[in-house]
């Protein structure tokens, strides 16, 4: 008799010794579902229900504090004819695309720089993570002050370097405002990329590099043909993860520009907030938020499958 089956017999005997109810509760499936019932009910009530209720809201004309009337796809048609909606769509894609690119390249650079031998590495790593740790709203307020129209320290430094006074209007000019929110999003997200990719770099076996060096590969070739392929799964996961949360970003834009000037930095989340919370039109706001769903659903499914495969 194998050890495994012997164990089965022993635990079956142990189970038989228990009372019938206890034996039922001891079944793996019964125990599991009983254990998971409370958290699953919680998630169904506060994630599942709001999700479907949001879809229902998007099909209603629903002023705040009034009952809604069903209007079919009217809200979505309103969005299609709303030039601001298309501006918001473009903004969201530009913001997500450029910030993700910067974070990926910068994060890789940070990881490579950190993957060398030097003193006080743990201290440096802890300090570099600060932008990612500190509550976003609070660090964003510091940026708001750094880009202040009258007393910007960034402009003070630029002028000291020879830029004509008074320096750029970072949050007042539509293009520069977009540049600003992209840079600040990158500043905040880069440590997450860097530290995660660093952990990945440390799993690349050193003998791969040695073998490549013996075969005459230079620094760039080692990076291109060893480092990058080995890191690809981690880069994929980090990037997908960051794309999801950049695409649906709210806090940073809300604090810095409120979507302005003239909707130049308005994203889906801030626009939906404006319509629903400031304008009081819950139905229309829900339809704007749901416009994120196709892209988000695709990203979430891809990442979930990817995480599972790992």
């Amino acid at each position: 008799m194998t050890i495994a089956s012997e164990r089965l017999v022993v635990s079956a005997r142990a189970a038989r010794r228990r009372a019938p109810l206890a034996a039922v509760l001891d079944r793996q499936s019964v125990f599991s579902w009983l254990m998971m019932a409370l958290p699953l009910a919680f998630l169904a009530a506060l994630v599942g229900y709001p999700f479907f209720y949001g879809i229902l809201l998007s099909l209603q004309d629903r002023p705040v504090a009034h009952t809604g009337t069903f209007v079919g796809l009217k809200n979505f048609i309103t969005n299609v004819h709303d030039p601001v909606f298309w501006r918001v769509t473009l903004n969201t894609f530009v913001y997500t695309g450029v910030a993700t690119l910067l974070k990926t390249i910068g994060g890789l650079g940070l990881a490579l720089a950190m993957n060398q031998h030097f003193r006080m590495k743990n201290l440096v790593r802890a300090l570099l993570l600060l932008p990612f740790i500190v509550p976003t709203v609070l660090s964003t307020v510091a940026w708001l002050w750094m880009l202040d129209p009258a007393f910007s320290v960034v402009n003070h430094l630029l002028v000291a370097l020879g830029w004509p006074k008074p320096g750029p209007s970072w949050l007042g000019d539509p293009t520069l405002a977009m540049v600003s929110i992209i840079v600040i999003n990158t500043w905040r997200g880069l440590p997450f990329y860097g530290i995660t990719l660093l952990a990945g770099l440390q799993t690349v076996p050193a003998d791969l590099y040695e073998a490549a060096s013996i075969d005459g590969a230079g620094g760039w070739e080692r990076f291109r043909y060893i480092t990058l392929p080995m890191l690809r799964p981690i880069i994929m996961i980090v990037t997908l993860f960051s794309v999801i949360f950049t695409f649906a970003d709210f806090q940073l834009v809300y604090v810095l520009t409120h979507g302005g000037p003239a909707n130049a930095t308005q994203l889906f989340a801030t626009y939906a907030f404006d319509i629903a919370m400031n304008g009081g039109q819950l139905g229309l706001g829900a339809s704007v938020a749901l416009a994120m769903l196709p892209a988000l659903a695709l990203l979430i499914v891809v990442l979930t499958l990817y995480l599972r495969r790992e």
């Binding site: 802890a126 740790i133 940026w143």
Partner: protein
Amino acid sequence: MVVSGQGRLRQAIRVWLPIGFFLVVALFPFYWMAITSIKPNSELYNKNVMPLIVHAPTLKHYVDLLTKSSFLLWTWNTMLVAVVATAISLILGTMLAYPLARMRFAGSSLIAMTIAAIYLVPQPLLFIPLADVINHLHLGNTLTSVILTYPTMLVPFCAWLLLGYFKTVPKELEEAARIDGASRLQTMWTIFLPLCVPGFISAGIFAFTLSQNEFLYALIFLTKSSVRTVPVGVIAELIRGDVFYWGQLMAGALLGSIPVAIIYSFFVEHYVAGLTAGSVKA
């Protein structure tokens, strides 16, 4: 191997030039926060004073912040909400993760994937219907509203992180306990959970910092000063439209960041382990 002086210098440049650049960029906003908070207004709003250093430091902004605004109350609210939401999320997350890590039952992989997917759903997708739900429950302007809604992001997150941790714990002790006749609940409670303290610390720190960081739900559900959390209080009440508020605002931002920074500095190893757990195969 003998390294020549010049080689060592070149090595130092190769390390510290990029690292120094990243450090300056990462830390300058915090330096600016700190220095602004101790400058008198006469320096803050004078363009002819060199702004990078303080000439006559003062604690006036801190005194004003603590005596003239509800900052201390907001800090208390933030802590209370973060601690309770984290505790709830660890408990509910464990109740999901243990069966998924240890039991074999139909539907387990579907549940695991659903939890991962829920974790990835960003708040802006749900905040409008959720605001209506909170209104219907008459929970607006109560801390209960955020204590209930923060776990919607934290439970899937803790479950996912703990699931990964639980799978690394050897099964032998549990199997031995089972053979000795312990029920599944006893085995989980007395044998398994005590082995998982490091996993709980990682998940707990993450959940705590995420709670401290949360803004959107708090902004919508908490509109009275007495129930606000630090991020919402700072944004809604310290930005007042006139120009002479930056000192207080930066003092508030700095003080609001300190609890998270302290906790994180004690547990940075756990934090990094948690950060990389999802993306690096052990």
